[in-house]
C-alpha cells in the first residue's frame, strides 16, 4: 500500500512537470501548426542559462532564475518564432518539423560543447526535506512542483477564457482568417503563444532540474513525454495536456513496478498508438470535424 501511494505521489509530481511541457507544445501546435520537436530541449536550456549565470557571472540564485525565465521568453519565444518558424510557415509542416529537429540537435550540442557534457547539480527552489504521508515520502519540492504547475495552468486557462487577449488568441487558433477579418492582430496573437511557451518551458525547467540534474540530454526524455502527453490528453484543449501529463507520469511509474521495468517505456507508447487509433482527439479533446 505504501509502495502504491509512493508511486502515485511521485508520478503526479513528475506528471505535473510533463503537463507544463505538454501545454506549451499544444499551444504552439494549435496556434501555428508548429510541431516543435525541440520542446524537450526548450525545457533543458533555461536551467543551463540559470546555471551559467550563477557559476560564470555570480548571480544570486533567485535573480538567475528570473533572468532565465525572461531570456527564455525572448529567445525560445520571440527569436524562435521570428527566425525559424515565420520564414517556414508557408512551406508546410514538414520543413518546420525538420527544422525543429535540427534546432533541438543544435541546442543539445551547444550545451554539451560550451558548457559541459557531464551532469551538473542544480540548486532547488524548494527544500528536499520530506514529510511522511501514510508511509510514503513526499518532499516539499514534490508538493511545490505540483502546486506551481497546477497554478500556472489554471492561470493560463483563466487568461485564455476570461481576458480579451486570451479570447483573441483562441480565435486565432480556431480560425485565423475569420479572426483577422474581425480585427484581431493574428501575428501578435501567435507571438504571444510563443512567448507563453518560452515561459512555460522555463518554469518547467527550473522545477524539474534539481531532480534530473542539469544535463544536455535531459531534453530527449522530456520532449518525447511532452508529445505523448499532449496527444493522449487531447491536444486541442489545455486541460487535455494537463490530464495527459499527469496520466503519463503516473502510468510510467505504475508500469515500472507492476508490469515490467524493462518494458516501462513501452506502455506510454502503446497507449499513444491506442489513443491515436481509437480516439485521435485524445481523452479530453473534442472531435475536430474533417474539412474537405
Amino acid at each position: 500500500m505504501t509502495e502504491l501511494l509512493q508511486i502515485l505521489i511521485s508520478g503526479l509530481s513528475a506528471g505535473a512537470i510533463y503537463a507544463l511541457a505538454a501545454v506549451g507544445f499544444t499551444l504552439l501546435w494549435q496556434a501555428s501548426q508548429t510541431i516543435n520537436f525541440a520542446q524537450g530541449e526548450f525545457v533543458m536550456i533555461p536551467a543551463f542559462i540559470a546555471l551559467a549565470l550563477i557559476t560564470k557571472l555570480g548571480f544570486p540564485v533567485w535573480l538567475a532564475f528570473i533572468a532565465a525565465i525572461l531570456l527564455s521568453i525572448v529567445f525560445l519565444g520571440a527569436v524562435f518564432k521570428r527566425l525559424v518558424v515565420e520564414p517556414m510557415i508557408s512551406h508546410g509542416t514538414l520543413p518546420l518539423v525538420i527544422a525543429t529537429i535540427a534546432l533541438g540537435l543544435l541546442l543539445k550540442e551547444a550545451v554539451k560543447e560550451f558548457y559541459s557534457p557531464l551532469g551538473q547539480p542544480f540548486p532547488g527552489l524548494f527544500s528536499h526535506d520530506t514529510i511522511s504521508v501514510f508511509g510514503a515520502a513526499v518532499s516539499f519540492a514534490d508538493i511545490a512542483n505540483f502546486v506551481v504547475a497546477m497554478g500556472v495552468i489554471a492561470g493560463l486557462q483563466w487568461f485564455l477564457n476570461k481576458t480579451r487577449t486570451g479570447r483573441c488568441m483562441q480565435a486565432t487558433a480556431q480560425n485565423p482568417d475569420v479572426a483577422q477579418i474581425l480585427g484581431v492582430d493574428i501575428k501578435r496573437m501567435v507571438l504571444y503563444t510563443f512567448l507563453i511557451n518560452g515561459a512555460l518551458a522555463a518554469i518547467a525547467s527550473i522545477l524539474i532540474t534539481p531532480v534530473y540534474l542539469a544535463k544536455f540530454s535531459n531534453g530527449e526524455v522530456l520532449g518525447l513525454v511532452a508529445f505523448i502527453a499532449a496527444i493522449v490528453g487531447g491536444f486541442n484543449q489545455i486541460k487535455g495536456a494537463l490530464v495527459g501529463g499527469l496520466l503519463i507520469g503516473v502510468i510510467d511509474n505504475l508500469s515500472a513496478v507492476y508490469i515490467s521495468a524493462e518494458y516501462r517505456q513501452a506502455v506510454p507508447m502503446i497507449l499513444l498508438i491506442l489513443i491515436i487509433m481509437v480516439r485521435p482527439q485524445g481523452i479530453m479533446g473534442e472531435s475536430e470535424g474533417r474539412a474537405v
Binding site: 518539423v97 525538420i98 540537435l105 550540442e109 508529445f227 485521435p280
Partner: protein
C-alpha cells in the same frame, strides 16, 4: 539538357564503379555505408516524398532486416537466403503496421511510427534469448558469391553497389509506372486524387510497405558490413537521421535520398576537423536550408539552375488558372 539527364545515370554508375579504387579501407567502408543508407533513404523517399506520409520508423525496419539476416547467417545459411526473407518480412510488417495506422491523419502517422520504432527497439533490447539483447549479435560472416569472398572491403563494396543498383532500378520502375503517377497525384492533392478514382488507402499502404521493405533491404546489407549489430543502432534517433537525409536531399526527387545520405554520412568526414562543433554546424546548416529551400538541396539546385535558364513570362492574371 534532356540528353544530359538521360546519360546522367550512366555517368554516375561509372563514377561509382571507379570511386573506391586506390582508397584506403576506411574510405571504402564509408562509401559502403553511404550506399546502404541511400537504399533506406530511397524507401523513405517513396513513403514521404512521393506518397506524402511521414514515417519515423524506417530505422526499426532496418533493424528488423538486419537482425533477420544476421540470425539466418548465424544459423549457417548463406546471406542470399536470409536477405529476401528479411525484405519480405519487413514488407509484411509494413503492411500490418500501415493498415490501421494510415487511417489517421498524416501528422498522427509520425507519432504512431515513432511509437512503433521505440517498441521495436525495446523488443530487440529485452528479448536476449533471440536477439542477444544489449550484447547484440556478432560474427556475421561476409558472404561469398561464386567463390569470390567479400571479406575484404573492396569486393564488399561492389556487392553493395550491385544491391544498390538493383534497388535504384526498381525504384525508377515504380516511379514511372501507373503506381508512380498515382503516388504523385496522392501527394499533390489527395482529395482530388480520390475523386478521380485513385484508391488512396491502398496506394498509400503500398507505398508505406514498399518503403519499409527498402529499409529491410538496407538492414540486410548492414549486417554483413558491420558484422556486429545491436539495438542502439536502430533507435529513434536513427529514424530522425533518415528523415533528415530525405528532406535535406530533396523529398520527392529521385536523386534526393542519395544526395541526402551523402550529406549526412560524408559531410561529417569533411567537417571532422571542427571536432565537437561539426554537429552544431550541420544542424545550423539544416535549419538555414529549410528556411531557404524546403525542397532540399535538389530543390535548391533547381532554383539556381532556373535562374540561368531563359524564363517564360506568364500573364499575371492567369496565375490562378482559369476560374469558373
Amino acid at each position: 539538357m534532356k540528353h544530359f539527364a538521360k546519360f546522367f545515370p550512366l555517368i554516375a554508375l561509372a563514377a561509382l564503379v571507379f570511386a573506391p579504387l586506390g582508397q584506403g579501407n576506411y574510405i571504402i567502408y564509408v562509401l559502403c555505408s553511404w550506399l546502404l543508407f541511400s537504399v533506406a533513404a530511397m524507401g523513405l523517399n517513396l513513403t514521404l516524398g512521393y506518397a506524402g506520409q511521414v514515417s519515423l520508423a524506417q530505422a526499426s525496419f532496418m533493424g528488423i532486416g538486419a537482425y533477420i539476416t544476421a540470425l539466418f547467417q548465424l544459423a549457417g545459411y548463406h546471406w542470399i537466403v536470409g536477405a529476401p526473407i528479411a525484405i519480405l518480412s519487413t514488407f509484411m510488417i509494413g503492411l500490418l503496421l500501415g493498415y490501421p495506422a494510415l487511417r489517421v491523419q498524416h501528422h498522427f502517422l509520425a507519432f504512431v511510427t515513432l511509437a512503433f520504432n521505440t517498441l521495436v527497439f525495446l523488443v530487440l533490447r529485452n528479448e536476449e534469448w533471440l536477439t542477444g539483447g544489449s550484447f547484440g549479435l556478432v560474427g556475421m560472416e561476409r558472404p561469398s558469391f561464386f567463390g569470390v569472398s567479400t571479406m575484404k572491403q573492396l569486393p564488399f563494396y561492389y556487392f553493395s553497389l550491385v544491391v544498390f543498383v538493383i534497388a535504384a532500378a526498381k525504384f525508377a520502375w515504380i516511379i514511372n509506372s501507373p503506381w508512380g503517377r498515382a503516388f504523385k497525384a496522392l501527394r499533390e492533392n489527395p482529395i482530388r486524387a480520390q475523386s478521380l478514382g485513385v484508391d488512396t488507402k491502398r496506394i498509400t499502404l503500398l507505398a508505406f510497405a514498399i518503403g519499409s521493405a527498402y529499409g529491410g533491404a538496407a538492414g540486410a546489407l548492414m549486417s554483413p558490413l558491420v558484422q556486429f549489430i545491436e539495438p542502439g543502432s536502430f533507435g529513434l534517433i536513427h529514424s530522425l537521421k533518415l528523415l533528415l537525409m530525405v528532406v535535406v536531399g530533396g523529398a520527392g526527387y529521385f536523386y534526393g535520398p542519395m544526395l541526402g545520405a551523402a550529406v549526412v554520412i560524408l559531410l561529417p568526414e569533411f567537417l571532422r576537423f571542427t571536432e565537437g562543433y561539426y554537429l552544431m554546424i550541420y544542424a545550423a546548416l539544416v535549419i538555414v536550408l529549410m528556411v531557404y529551400s524546403p525542397s532540399g538541396l535538389i530543390g535548391l539546385g533547381s532554383k539556381i539552375a532556373a535562374r540561368f535558364r531563359p524564363q517564360k513570362q506568364t500573364r499575371k492574371d492567369m496565375n490562378q488558372g482559369a476560374q469558373l
